[in-house]
Amino acid sequence: MKEKFNSIWQRLFGDSVRAFGVVSIVFLLSLAIAPAKNFFSEWRHYQHGYLRMIRNRSEANTLQRHFKSGIQQIWLPELGVVDRCTSCHVGLNEASLTDVASQPFRKHPAIPHKLDEFGCTVCHRGQGAATTAAEAHNSTLAWEQPILPAKYVESSCGQCHRGPLSGTPVLNQGRYLLSRYGCVHCHTVKLPDGTTMTADDDPPSLSHIADKTSREWVFAWLKDPQAYSTTATMPNFKLTDDDARDISAFLIANSTAVPGDAQAVSAKADPTGGASLYGESFCASCHAVQNAAGNMVGGNVGPELTRVGSKVKPEWLQSWLRNPRVYDPATAMPHYRFNDAQVATLSGFLQAKTDSDLLANVHLDAATPQQITHGKRLVSDYGCASCHEIAGIKKPENFAPELSRIGSKSITQLIFLPGMPHTLPDYIAGKIKQPRAFSPGLRMPQYTFTTPQIDSLTTALLALNDRATTLPPSLAVAATPESDYQPAGKAGKLMSDLACFSCHRINGHGGDMAPDLTWEGSSVQRQWLVSFLKNPNTLRPALIRRMPRFNLTDGEINDLTDYMMTVYQNPAVDRDSMPLSGYPQGQVELGKQLFYGKYSCQGCHIVDPKSDKGYIGPTLTQVGSRLTAAWIYQWMKNPQSLRPGTVEPNRAMSDDDARAVTAFLISQKGGGSKETAKK
């Protein structure tokens, strides 16, 4: 062995010339390593592939001219972006390469931003400065952010765009769910604009719960809220029987009575009138009931009522129907002003909606003081007071980890489940899907989110990251701030009593179920508003959600009407500038022709119930008794200027056309023929 080695040594380094030659060759070879690595680099391979691909295309010359060889990069110091992705993704900006299925050469799909102004990693994450596919796309030791999976890509829009966008339904949904399911009760979310996200789920106060329901129901609910109502917001805390027993014991013992919220009415119920009163009062606009086929029928503003008879006490329900604001001053439920007979009838109808299985197996002995004390401890342990108001228990601060920068959380700080991909999105989605799988001791409850809901929540959370927080203010697109508008005075009080804002929006505040009333004073005629409040009829035949009748007194109607006619005025519409009648017959005729011909409004509206069938817009048979002429005119000119987002198309009518259509519509007074017939 040794001899052999010696002979090789002799042959290579035996004399100085030989040694010099060998060392030179080794030196030259080592110098060649760098150019060789460059020559065989991955990006060069892709660029060659690109050139081969475009050779056979008809527009090869144009593509060839646009092609730049070598490493390309997009450098945006303001965003901290150094993206070399375009070294391999060569055709991203080539309009003609939309049909290329082989990556990385396809044109980037159309988006509202220029790639050169935003780079790639702002939206897709990954390591922009890397020059190999593996390092750019995957997580490495030095760079733990891999490419963001496509289903979460809208989170990147959310870094700059703080409000909803029509092109980002997933992100919008995720942000909505964060507040709708009360995630932010426990998890603080400070938004990049400095505000704190607020919850929108309205959890009821539990301070007076014994007035409303039984301990047995509380127990059954705590064990499985979805067994009572499949649409319940409350998640399942997976409590043991003992824990649920003790918490129910504490909540009932802790409850204090509200004066006047459990008074039964003496009137007799009409056993057959319940269903029609429920329908007439449009309870289904807000409350859902599961029908025999298992489908939910009704709205989701209030709680589901399928099994309400197994929950509430009859005397509480009657007081609630008489005036819900006695029990809960802030409820979204209107004060209907039912008379005692109606209260008795409606409560009888609701009380019959029971489910005998719900409480069949719940047998609780009288609570012991130990159970109550233990229940109180559990209520603090599980953070019940984070959502619910509970007398004697303070809302805990920072009950759960803050999520303001969850989208940049380092994966070294996360504990993954076995077999789970080690990425942040997978962790967040897994945690939402099954929180207790990560540790049985965790207090985070089990929600019943669907996969798309989990994906949208994950998308919204990923948008809460370092880039969103440190973004140059010039690039941030602010959200429209939620207004806290409240009308003043007597009418204002009446409007909160009737919970108008549960459905209507005024000056940016309120729900979106019913029309925006911000300009109602310019829009409608006083007489119409009075009669509508007295007896609301529907304007849109296709709608199932309608305005209920509140049995208002004449005085109340006057107060409301006066306020709305005076305050809710649009500066661009002077309602006295155009008369409500007396337009020349020729102009009315011209308007009619325009209505049925040029503009074909009958596609969506009904003026003549015999011939018109349009179902989308409001019925216009009586529009001349409802709207002001000045409003109709302005609406014809530019509907979106009066109600942003309305479906009514802006037809850019000339002044003459708009005036003629106004003259025609204002002549539709409705009921006119009947009155003459009576006379």
Partner: protein
């Protein structure tokens, strides 16, 4: 140490390395079929539309039939598609009604995805069913949102509780956006004209209003991109079809 010893050592290291790598790729074993069908057909869930990377709204249900054409329980069905498409589950044994149900999430690129559901017959030959699903990119999806807001009340004849269709009330019936035979003949320029100036721009019904003053810049290209993406038969602008194996176009 002699040469052969070091060679063996290197060999052992190499074997260890390859086995430890291949372990990662090992798929769960396939369930054992108890029956073999003669045909595989789609029960429901084809030609659905979803955003890229997201699950389809409805699961894909396929059915295996025997020689007489009646449903067959106990047959193995496997699903395959281009990389990026996720099946939950990726295979299954047909139930008593002869069906296997899977939830499909489409890949990250916009376009049509070909899904192959396969089963084996008695002679162990593969029988395949090809189903297409559609993934919408940003622009097409924006178009879908706009179409739902402005167009579908008339263009979609299906009525739901939340959105009652106006289709039956119109004298001249609007075309459903999936009607490729109609839309594929209309150029982008003509579609732009009819959307912005209304039906009369193409000598069509005036019941189709002009939307040019209502829609924002970029909305009309988005609507057209959506119509091109969902049309059936596919438009020439529908983009690539992604299929199993190879990234080339199938069509």
């Amino acid at each position: 140490m002699n040469r052969s010893a070091s060679f063996v050592l290197v060999l052992i290291v190499a074997i260890l390395a390859t086995t430890s790598c291949s372990k990662k790729n090992e798929a769960a074993p396939l369930p054992k079929p108890t029956a073999f069908g003669a045909a595989i057909v789609e029960a429901s869930g084809g030609k659905q539309v979803a955003q890229t990377g997201t699950p389809l709204p409805q699961p894909l249900v396929v059915q295996v039939n025997d020689g007489q054409g009646s449903a067959l329980a106990g047959a193995l069905v496997e699903f395959a598609a281009a990389s990026g498409v996720v099946f939950d589950p990726a295979n299954g044994i047909t139930d008593s009604s002869g069906q296997v149900t899977t939830n499909v999430s489409l890949g990250g690129m916009a376009g049509r995805y070909q899904i192959i559901a396969s089963t084996t017959d008695k002679s162990h030959k593969k029988i395949e069913l090809k189903v297409e699903e559609i993934a919408l990119g940003y622009q097409q999806n924006l178009g879908r949102v706009l179409a739902d807001q402005y167009c579908q009340r008339c263009h979609n004849s299906e009525s739901t509780v939340e959105r009652v269709s106006n289709y039956d009330n119109l004298e001249v019936k609007p075309h459903s956006f999936t009607e490729g035979d109609t839309y594929n003949k209309i150029s982008d320029a003509d579609l732009t004209a009819v959307i912005s100036h209304g039906g009369p721009a193409l000598n069509k019904s005036a019941l189709m209003p002009a939307w040019g003053g209502t829609l924002a810049k970029g909305d009309i290209p988005a609507l057209i991109a959506y119509i091109r993406a969902v049309s059936d038969p596919p438009s020439h602008d529908a983009g690539a079809v992604y299929a199993k194996l190879g990234r080339h176009r199938v069509r």
